[in-house]
Amino acid sequence: MKRNRLLIQKLWFSVLGLSGLIIAIILFALVFFVTTRGFRVINWEFLTAAPKDGMTAGGIFPAIVGTFYLTLLAIAAALPVGVITAIYLNEYADRDSRLVQVSRKAVNALAGIPSVVFGLFGLALFVNFLHFGVSILSGGLTLAIMILPVIIRSSEEALSAVPFSFREASLALGASKWYTIRRAVLPTALPGIFTGAILGIGRVAGETAPIMFTAATFFTGRLPSSIRDEVMALPYHIYGLMTEGTHPEQQAPIAYGTALVLLVLVLGIDLIAIIWRYRSRKMKKW
């Protein structure tokens, strides 16, 4: 009887261990396949030149630049709005009020909307209704709306992790609520807020659907000169290479090379967030 129970425990532990192992294997396999198929095309020209010869040669520089601008605009738009919303929800609003409950539910619902729907919404609102056209502006704002829930949630978590005793100490010194938030609460919450923002950047850089109708173009020989220009972008470039064009067998390796660049970028950004979080946790002593 007793041996039996031990056996069952061992069995379950191995099942748990195995599922952890499977995740690691999947990640490893993904990185392995993309790397082996993509690394051959990667060289200095690939990273710094524009595509040429009908997308069968040259590089992906315009796509790297496009992804950089889109990501930058998205985070610049989403971070302030997200942090202010989180401050309102966490510090000011009455937790039981109708408005807060509706806002919270809206944030959660927004997080669950498929990204292609954001793309269509961006097309309707920014491209057509506001006449921004297919542009960095439209695409960046569409991406911003998409990552807003991520930023709001992580900011809220960071704010609520600030001990109440800091707020109490500040208020007891005669500070106003807003001064307390600015000087005692926000600085303490900042590492957490930035970690959320960096993870948001990683997510935005890799999204295809929200930008395909709002910002991205399969090919443009020149770099964007204004926020109203359309751009190439890494994820959309991969999509384009695999679905359009006339030389699929020459385009596929380029697509894998692009995927490798995107993967390194996104994982690199996530790594920065992980290191940052680790360091700020180590410094935390309350």
Partner: protein
């Protein structure tokens, strides 16, 4: 001795719970007054009424009045000036995750003081007054969390002193500290009463006996007895006070 704070027929409710029941009590300047009583008797709530920290708790209802220098703290003082006149030190040391210097300077910056020289002078003087200067003068830019618990609590005292309050409220300031750190805080309290009025809440009766000039005994939201500390501990008038200080309950 001049009355600096007068509590008159104070009642306080959190929602339906009647926490403080018709309390009347005066605090004189340059004295240490101790409030003792078992856990949950309302002693912390009482001193948190004096700087209106209870305002932070929703559904608080108060009747009766508290006068500071003869003026009602709810009507004639705005909460910001009230809290600069009535400072507070909390149960657990709660420095900000900033440098030692910035912790003490915080209240000065709240008041809009930006002259560097003035801030530096006041930080130094305040740290001296809190008996912490000699230990930290070489590393004012160090994070406050590097200090020991007792040093952190003295830093919190310095932070409260920096804005030059008239009264300082101590809410069980030694409950998280070891005996040596506690002794240093008590020594500091006795020094501070020369320039400040001190009100201390403590569940440690020996502490009240050691430092306080006057002691008030609270039980279940009622003030049972108040008097000179020696009288309260040697000849309590009320049977309940006697039972409490002799350790029969609490």
């Amino acid at each position: 001795m001049k009355k600096i704070i007068e509590v008159k027929n104070l009642n306080l409710w959190f929602g339906e719970k009647h926490i403080l029941k018709n309390i009347s009590l005066d605090f004189e300047s340059n004295e240490i007054s101790a409030i003792i009583g078992p856990s949950g008797c309302g002693k912390s709530t009482l001193i948190r009424t004096l700087n209106r920290m209870n305002d932070l708790i929703p559904e608080t209802r108060i009747t009766g009045g508290v006068l500071l220098d003869g003026q009602d703290i709810r009507q004639e003082h705005d909460v910001v000036t009230l809290r600069t006149k009535v400072g507070m030190v909390f149960q657990r040391p709660n420095p900000f995750p900033k440098s030692i210097f910035e912790n003490v300077a915080y209240g000065l910056r709240v008041q809009g003081i930006s002259n560097r020289r003035e801030i530096a002078d006041r930080v130094e003087n305040t740290l001296k007054a809190a008996a912490l200067w000699d230990e930290v003068k070489g590393n004012l830019n160090q994070n406050a969390f590097q200090l020991s618990g007792g040093q952190q609590q003295r830093l919190c005292i310095a932070r409260a002193l920096a804005v030059k309050p008239e009264v300082i409220l101590f809410d069980e300031p030694c409950s998280a500290l070891d005996p040596i750190s506690t002794a240093r805080i008590e020594e500091l309290l006795l020094k501070l009463k020369i320039s400040y009025t001190i009100i201390i809440v403590t569940h440690n009766m020996q502490q009240a006996a050691r430092v306080a000039d006057k002691t008030a005994f609270l039980l279940m939201g009622e003030m049972i007895e108040v008097g000179a500390t020696s009288q309260i501990f040697k000849q309590p008038k009320d049977k309940r006070t006697e039972d409490y200080i002799t350790g029969r309950f609490g």
